[in-house]
């Protein structure tokens, strides 16, 4: 089978901004100063002002557009094709979201302008809160956290505060070995000791082992549901019962909420606190790594501890309430990543109550379709029904000395962004594939063809695979040297 998806084409080389600078070049023009120019050294003290910013860029406007346009052509993106990163929910990012966030009255509002002049923004926040509570089935929510990990941190602080309020914040958090790295890192940052708990043979929480593990020192458990192998935790309600029976709480990492929206609500299966990733489930763009938003939803008993300020309706006006004595405090300045909330609300409005479950079903359909097409060729260590993603291992291919990362690099030659590599840890050599609902059958078929073709190459021409990628403008990147002698900034060659 040949590569059907791409052909090579010249793309422009480009130096760094610093290298393409020449003295005196400018890309800007300022308005005329309508007040007397102040002498900086005089106003600030000579010691407080700098001379030039050495080696700072000096380029023209056309230099700038070319620089970044050229750079952009070196990237893969959702707008170019399937981006099947498991756990990342790389769905289409509707452009109406961007437009909505750029409306003057959304973009140019200062967080300190009087509430009376910010009612529209506050109404948007209220609407986002309402919709997310409806989708999660929880009782209260904070939109302050800036991303998933930040939401986790906030959620764990809530657990800490709630338990402390009862007299003992406890010491440990239980975290399944399948969890995302942010879970243990968060637990640690919040001052808890992490206790890893092993999954059972089916990749699920072992409820008996769990029951044994939960004691008076355990503050809670952080569970991802569907789990990172894309499987619904069948015993989630028992897990909740076990935790609650010992006075501990159930935290749900909602990164995989794209499998549930509109068809199952964490609030209905015992979750006490959870975060959402608006940059996954709610289509706000990843932008090469961020921004995101990680709202944290809770059951009523945790509500008093939510970060300040809280949005409140006073008479016919929205206002910010700071008078919350039990609050864990602020986790971020102002009110969170408001612009991301606007985008998420635009997404929710476009889908509506009717469209959200439809999107969820389509996400499940696409994942199961991929699974079906690839199962004959790749090992699948956990064969439970897949939700929104499916996780294979490189067990068969590694016999030929080809691991998941190598297959990933070869996939690039086929015109696709790779799946998530080597996560979750409970699958050795994992290939974690999440297509999302916005992919067409055609794109999925091409992807499956490519994967099958690579599986054959592994048998027939393994060296071709091992030396991939072959077609990209940048060949295999030497990450080892990068880490050994880190060069993390440009310096003028001496």
């Amino acid at each position: 089978m040949s590569i059907q998806k791409v052909r090579t084409n010249p793309t422009q080389n480009e130096e760094l901004l610093f290298e393409r600078s020449s003295p005196g070049k400018m890309g800007y023009q300022l308005p005329d100063l309508d007040v007397p120019m102040v002498d900086a050294a005089e106003a600030l003290g000579a010691g407080n002002t700098r001379s030039e910013i050495a080696d700072f860029p000096e380029v023209s406007e056309v230099d700038v557009i070319r620089h970044f346009t050229r750079l952009s052509t070196w990237n893969y993106a959702i707008d170019l094709g399937l981006y099947p990163l498991g756990s990342c929910t790389m769905k289409y990012n509707p452009r109406i979201n961007e437009q909505a966030a750029r409306v003057d009255g959304m973009a140019w509002i200062h967080p300190y302008q009087p509430d009376s002049l910010s009612q529209g923004a506050m109404q948007v926040i209220a609407e986002v809160e309402r919709c997310l509570l409806e989708i999660t089935g929880m009782d209260a929510i904070t939109l302050q956290p800036a991303a998933g990990a930040h939401g986790e941190f906030t959620g764990i602080l809530l657990i800490h505060a709630a338990l402390a309020a009862k007299g003992n914040p406890r010491k440990k958090l239980l975290i399944p070995d399948s969890a995302h790295g942010t879970n243990p890192a968060t637990a640690h940052m919040a001052g808890y000791k992490v206790e890893n708990i092993a999954s059972n043979a089916r990749g699920m929480v072992d409820t008996e082992a769990l029951a044994r593990a939960v004691d008076e020192d355990v503050a809670g458990i952080m569970i991802t549901n569907p789990s990172t192998i894309g499987v619904f935790e069948e015993n989630i309600s028992q897990v909740a019962e076990i935790m609650h029976s010992k006075g501990a709480l159930l935290y749900m990492d909602g990164a995989n909420m794209n499998a549930l929206a509109g068809i199952s609500r964490p609030g209905d299966f015992g979750v006490d606190v959870m975060h959402l990733n608006l940059h996954k489930t709610f289509s706000t763009p990843h932008g090469g790594g961020g921004p995101g938003a990680g709202p944290v939803a809770v059951k009523q008993h945790l509500e008093p501890f939510l970060p300040i300020p809280r949005l409140a309706r006073v008479g016919d006006q929205w206002s910010w309430n700071y008078d919350r004595p039990q609050s864990v405090g602020r986790v971020r300045a102002f009110y969170g990543n408001f612009g991301v909330l606007v985008r998420a609300l635009a997404y929710i409005m476009a889908h509506g109550g009717n469209g959200l479950p439809r999107a969820t079903y389509d996400a499940l359909l696409n994942a199961n379709y991929i699974r079906k097409l690839l199962e004959p060729y790749f090992d699948m260590p956990y064969k439970e029904p897949s939700m929104h993603e499916c996780v294979f291992s490189d067990a068969r291919q590694s016999k030929q000395g080809v691991d998941t990362m190598t297959i990933a690099k070869r996939l690039i030659d086929y015109g696709f962004h790779p799946y998530t590599v080597a996560f979750p840890l409970i699958v050795k050599g994992a290939l974690m594939i999440e297509p999302t609902e916005t992919e067409s059958k055609r794109e999925l078929d091409l992807f499956a063809d490519a994967m099958v073709s690579i599986a054959k190459e592994v048998d027939e021409t393994p060296d071709l695979v091992k030396t991939a990628p072959h077609t990209t403008r940048t060949a295999k990147v030497d990450e080892v040297t990068a880490a050994r002698k880190p060069i993390v900034r440009w310096k003028r060659p001496s």
Binding site: L16, G27, L30, V35, M37, A43, L44, G47, E52, I53, A54, F56, P57, E58, F68, T69, L71, W74, A77, Y83, R102, G105, W108, I109, H110, Y112, Q113, P114, S118, V124, C131, A146, A147, H150, G181, T182, S264, H286, G287, G289, G290, P291, R332, F334, G336, F338, G339, A346, M349, G353, Y369, H417, F423, T474, D478, E479, T481, A482, V488, R489
Partner: protein, 428 residues
């Protein structure tokens, strides 16, 4: 597709879910709406807000969020799908665009701050500050944090939240009541051999440019690190960089990020080479590809949660990449000379307004200052201004009870003289 999977209807995909977890009701959310309706909705909500520039309001608020002009180039670049819709650049071979831009970003932050290393971004300054504090604790093996009261109050609140649950003792020291500068004596008094870091901000929350050297000397003398925070990044175009700091934690909102009611912004942490392995967040490094061409990749990932899990330097994963790209484009557009000129305009405008009012402090200030109201109350002043479509300054009493009847006023290159004159008039 259902056929291929061997199912009859789409609901069969969830037939295996345990009973009781399905939600069978329709979501109580309006049915899907058209683009036109959605835009209409946000325009209508937007019209209920005052929007600087948008619906004719002039705005004198600063205090960590600044109304700077956003060059058209910025959205032109970040709207390209190749930047907007790509993920974290884990697959270096098809992410060189993002990686190269981040490397440039890191370099420019170093050039601006005088540090050796800068990360690829933090959520914002308010979260970068506690991360910097924790970094200092790891670096020094000490336990206490000492913060100037003239650091942005909300940054201090977030720091408080982060530290309290970890049992990190947090102390504060004051500012000089006359100059608004750090109260150096208070600093000397409160610093101890347990102090991991002294945290100061410049320009501080009152807009006043601190003497970083002096603070550094005291911190270092006691074996503490100095963390320098900045909230108004445009000041870096003109101010002597905080070279004597060990760690710099800042907010880049001023670099072409719209105020957006407080976010998304982009924070950053920069530090001396020595602390590179303690820095949180992503780092891009230079290397080569197998053809010997220069290439970039994420590096030193062993600091990060996806590799080190609970031993990571931070739990941060998603950061503010696209916002950092906005800042990168902004800096490329203004460049060496432009950033300075921009800063000078900001300085000049604020000094013009200050010359017509009564500044509360005598210390040197950049583009904001505390004005003391005398004949009228600040709330009355702001009400009057509001009627003229001017959003006045931030009353400070809420954050600093001792600063009665004062407001923090900010001017940028977007502030125009007629409105400044109006403010002065209303104050009089």
């Amino acid at each position: 597709m259902l056929d291929t999977i061997g199912l009859k209807k789409i609901e069969d995909l969830v037939a295996h879910l345990p009973s009781g977890v399905r939600y069978h009701k329709p979501l109580a959310i309006e049915p899907g709406r058209s683009e036109y309706d959605i835009l209409d909705y946000f325009k209508a909500r937007g019209a209920e807000n005052a929007a600087a520039g948008g619906n004719g309001y002039a705005c004198f608020l600063g205090a960590g969020v600044y109304n700077h002009y956003r060059p058209v180039m910025v959205d032109t670049v970040v709207s390209r799908g190749e930047f907007l819709t790509s993920y974290t650049p884990y697959q270096a071979e098809i992410s060189q665009g993002t990686l190269t831009a981040i490397f440039e970003f890191q370099t420019m932050i170093c050039q601006l701050t005088g540090m050796d290393v800068a990360n690829a971004s933090m959520y914002d300054a308010s979260t970068a500050v506690p991360e910097a504090a924790m970094m200092a604790i790891r670096a020094t093996g000490r336990s206490h944090i000492l913060t100037a009261r003239s650091v942005h109050p909300e940054y201090r609140e977030v720091l408080h939240t982060y530290t309290q649950h970890q049992g990190i003792p947090l102390d504060e020291f004051g500012y000089d009541a006359e100059s608004g500068l750090l109260d150096i004596e208070d600093l000397s008094r409160t610093i101890t051999k347990d102090t991991a870091a002294v945290i100061i901000q410049t320009p501080n929350f009152f807009g006043i440019v601190e003497n970083v050297k002096q603070a550094a000397a005291i911190a270092h003398e006691h074996g503490s690190l100095l963390v320098v925070v900045f909230a108004e990044a445009v000041s870096l175009g003109l101010l002597e960089p905080p070279r004597d700091a060990d760690i710099v934690a800042g907010e880049l909102q001023s670099f072409a990020i719209p105020p957006s009611y407080g976010g998304p912004f982009a924070g950053v942490i920069a530090c001396k080479e020595k602390w590179i392995r303690q820095i949180p967040g992503r780092l891009v490094g230079e290397t080569k590809d197998s053809n010997g061409n220069r290439a970039f990749c994420l590096t030193l990932a062993t600091r990060e949660q996806h590799i080190r899990r609970e031993k990571a330097t931070s739990n941060i994963c998603t950061n503010q990449a696209l916002i950092a790209l906005m800042a990168t484009v902004f800096l490329a557009v203004y460049g060496k000379q432009g950033l300075r000129e921009l800063a000078v305009q900001n300085l000049s405008k604020a000094h013009y307004l200050a010359s017509k009012l009564k500044p509360r402090f005598s210390g040197p200030f950049f583009n904001e200052f505390v004005a003391q109201a005398e004949t009228k109350s600040v709330s009355a002043i702001n009400k009057t201004l509001e009627s003229k479509k001017i959003i006045g300054g931030l009353p400070l009493e809420k954050f600093y009870p001792e600063l009665k009847n004062t407001m923090l006023l900010c001017c940028t290159e977007m502030t125009r003289k007629p409105q400044m004159d109006q403010v002065a008039e209303v104050f009089a």
